[in-house]
Amino acid sequence: MTIKYLLQKEFLQIRRNSFMPKVILIFPIMVMCVMPWVMNQEVKNIRVDIVDNDRTTKSQQMVHSIEASNYFIFNGQKSSYKDAMKDIEQSKADIILEIKDGQYLIAANAVNGTKGSIGASYLAQIIREHESRTGKSIKNGFENERNITTTKPNTIPTSVLTLYNKSQNYKVFMIPALMGILMMMLCGFLPALNIVGEKERGTIEQINVTPVSKWSFILAKLIPYWIIGLLVLTVCLTLSWLIYGITCKGHLALIYILSVLLALFFSSFGLIVSNYSKNMQQAMLVMWFFVVCMMLLSGLFTPTRSMPDWAYLTTYINPMHYFIDAMRTVFIRGGNFTAIAHQLFALTAIASLMSIWAVLSYRKNS
C-alpha cells in the first residue's frame, strides 16, 4: 500500500509547514466569529428626518412611535423639506418623513435600493399601525402575534406567516453559506497551491519517476484536505451552536454528504487548474476568478431568481448554487432527503465529471 506512505508524507508536510497548521486552525474560527456579524444585510439604524408641518398631537405621537422603534434613529425635526434634503445629501439622514395636512410623504435615499425600499416599507408599516390605532379605521379583531403582521387594506385583509427563520435573524441565513465558503477555500485552494508548489520546486519530477500510480498520487494529495474540510465543518457546526445558538434543523448526515460532494468538486477543480498552470501566481489568479464568479452567481448573497435569464442559466452548472440551496434547505428549513434529492443528484453528477477530467488531465510525463 504505497498510498499509506504517501498520505503519511502529506500529513507530515502539512504539519511541518510553519504556515499551514495556523491557517487550518485559526482561519475557520476567525471566519465563524467575525463574519456572521459582518455579513448582515439586515436594515437597521435608519436615520430619519421628520418635517412636521401639522404640529398636532397626532403627528407628535407619530414622531414618538418612530423614535421608539428599534429600526430607526431619530435624526431631528427639520423646518422644511429643503433642510431635510440637505441632510440626505450629506448622508446625515437616510429617510425623510414629511407630515402635511394628515398626509405623509416618505422620501428614502435609494442609492442602495434594498435599504431604501425596506426602510420606506418599515416606516409605512409604523404609520399604518399608528393610523389604525388612533384613526377612525376599524380596530383589528384579533391579536397581532409575533411574526404575524397584519395590515388592513380596503377589501382583502391579509396576514403573513413567516416560516423557518422566525426571529428574522440574518446569521441563520448566512452561517450555512459560510460553511460552503470555508470548504471551498480549504478543499479548493490548498491542494491546488500544494501541487503547483511541488511543480515549481521540481519535487513532482521525483514522484513522476517512481512506480506510484497516477490514482494513488492524486488520492494521497486530496484525502488530507477532505479530512481537514470535514474537521473544519464539525468545528463550524459546534461554533455556531456555542456562539450563536444556531443549530441544524435537518439531519446532520445530509450536511456531511453535501460537504463531501462539494469538497470532491472543488478539489478536482483545484487539481485541473494546477494541471494547466505553471506557477503559483497563475494558479491563484485563475482560481480566484472562477471562484468569485461561482460565488456571486450562486445565490449566496442575492436570490438567483432575481437574476436576468442569461445569468440564471449559469446556475444550472454551478455546483455552489446546488450546494447553497440544499445546505439552506437542510440547515434552516429542516428538509429531508427527498427535499434535496435533486440538488444531491446534480452535485454528484458535476463532481464526478470534474474528478474524471481532473484524473485524465494529470500527466506523469511532462
Binding site: 448622508s91 398626509q103 435609494a110 435600493g113 409605512a124 385583509p157 423557518y164 427535499a339 434535496i340
Partner: protein, 351 residues
C-alpha cells in the same frame, strides 16, 4: 528628466509584456461590472407562489388573479392543503404560499423566511399587489430618491471603483517593487546614477496611468451599458478619484517597504486591503448594522470614504460642498500615508 522618462518606459514595458496579467487587469473590471450590474440584484422577480385551494373564496380567487397578473409573482402550482404548500417551500420548490384562513376570515401569506430581507420584500409586494386596484386609503405617498427603479448597479458601481483602483494601484505597485528586490535587480537600479526616490516614482507613474485608463473604462461602461448617471459632474469625480489613486499608491509604497518577498506583498495586500474593502466598506453589507467594534474598524478604511463620496457625486448628483468631509478625510489619509511611506523609504537594501 531623460533618465526619468526612460525608467517610466522600462516599467511600462514590464506591464505591457506580461500578457496574462494585462488580460486580467482589464478583463476583471469588465466582468465585475457586468456581474454586479446585472446579475447581483435583490429585485423581487419570479417569486414562485403556491395556491392552496382547499377553501377558495371569491376573495382569494381575486387575490390569486392579481398576483398572477403581476410581473413579480409566478403561480407555479396549486395544492390541496397548507401542509403540502409548506412541504413545497421546504424543498425549495416555492417561496410563497397563499392560503385562505377560515378562522380569521382573511388571506394568509406563508413565506419562506430563511432570507429575512427577501421575505419582507416578497410579503410587502404581495400585500401591495393584493390590495391594489381597490383605491388605496393609505394616507401616504412613498418616493424613492435618486434610484426610483431600484437598480443595484447604482449601489455597486462606486464600490467596484473603490475596490479596483485600490487593488490595482496598491497591489500592483507594491508587487512590482518587491519583485525587483526579490530578483536582485533592485540593486542594479540603485547603483545607477538615478535618484532612488526617482526610481520609485517612475515605478508608480505607469500604474497611475493604468488606473486612470481603468477608471475611464468603468465610467464609460457604467454610463453606457449600465445606465448609471454621472450626475455630479465629471470634473469632481476625477479630482476625488485622483486623490484616492494617490492614496492607494502611497499604500502600495508603504507595503513594498515592509514586504521582503512577493508572496508577503500579495498576502498583505489581499488580507489588509482587499478583504476589509469588500467586507467593511459598505459595499455588500451595510456598516450601520454591524457591531460597534467593527464600525470603528470600518471608520479607518479609506475606500469607505471614497465609495461614499462617489455615490454622492455620481448617483445623487450633489455638489462638492456635500462631500467636503470625505474629501478632507481622504486627503489627510493620503498625506499621512505618503509621509510615512517616504520616511520609511531607505535607499540602501537591508542585508
Amino acid at each position: 528628466m531623460k533618465q526619468f522618462i526612460s525608467l517610466i518606459l522600462k516599467e511600462a514595458r514590464h506591464i505591457v509584456r506580461d500578457k496574462r496579467t494585462m488580460l486580467i487587469l482589464f478583463g476583471m473590471p469588465v466582468v465585475l461590472m457586468l456581474l454586479f450590474g446585472f446579475a447581483i440584484t435583490n429585485d423581487v422577480k419570479n417569486v414562485r407562489t403556491v395556491v392552496v385551494t382547499s377553501q377558495l373564496s371569491p376573495q382569494t380567487q381575486q387575490a390569486v388573479e392579481r398576483l398572477s397578473a403581476s410581473e413579480y409573482f409566478k403561480i407555479v402550482q396549486t395544492v390541496a392543503t397548507p401542509e403540502d404548500a409548506e412541504w413545497m417551500i421546504r424543498s425549495q420548490k416555492a417561496d410563497l404560499a397563499i392560503v385562505f384562513a377560515p378562522k380569521n376570515q382573511n388571506i394568509q401569506l406563508i413565506v419562506d423566511g430563511s432570507d429575512p430581507n427577501m421575505a419582507k420584500q416578497w410579503t410587502s409586494y404581495a400585500q401591495q399587489t393584493i390590495a391594489n386596484n381597490t383605491h388605496s386609503t393609505d394616507a401616504f405617498y412613498t418616493s424613492l430618491l435618486y434610484n426610483p427603479r431600484m437598480k443595484s448597479a447604482y449601489n455597486f458601481v462606486p464600490a467596484i471603483m473603490g475596490m479596483l483602483l485600490l487593488l490595482i494601484c496598491a497591489m500592483m505597485t507594491s508587487v512590482s517593487i518587491v519583485r525587483e528586490k526579490e530578483r536582485g535587480t533592485m540593486e542594479v537600479l540603485l547603483v545607477s546614477p538615478v535618484q532612488p526616490l526617482m526610481i520609485i516614482v517612475a515605478k508608480a507613474v505607469p500604474y497611475l496611468l493604468q488606473a486612470f485608463l481603468i477608471l475611464t473604462i468603468i465610467l464609460v461602461m457604467s454610463n453606457t451599458i449600465l445606465e448609471v448617471p454621472l450626475a455630479g459632474g465629471i470634473g469632481w469625480i476625477i479630482v476625488v478619484s485622483l486623490i484616492y489613486i494617490l492614496l492607494a499608491l502611497s499604500l502600495g509604497l508603504l507595503i513594498s517597504n515592509i514586504a521582503k518577498t512577493q508572496f508577503v506583498a500579495l498576502l498583505v495586500s489581499a488580507m489588509v486591503l482587499l478583504l476589509p474593502t469588500v467586507m467593511l466598506s459598505g459595499m455588500l453589507f451595510p456598516v450601520e448594522s454591524m457591531p460597534k467594534i467593527l464600525q470603528w474598524v470600518a471608520a479607518i478604511i479609506p475606500p469607505r470614504y471614497y465609495i461614499d463620496a462617489m455615490r454622492k457625486l455620481m448617483i445623487m448628483g450633489v455638489g462638492i460642498e456635500s462631500v467636503w468631509r470625505e474629501v478632507i478625510i481622504l486627503s489627510t489619509m493620503t498625506a499621512v500615508l505618503l509621509f510615512v511611506a517616504l520616511m520609511k523609504f531607505n535607499k540602501r537594501l537591508a542585508i
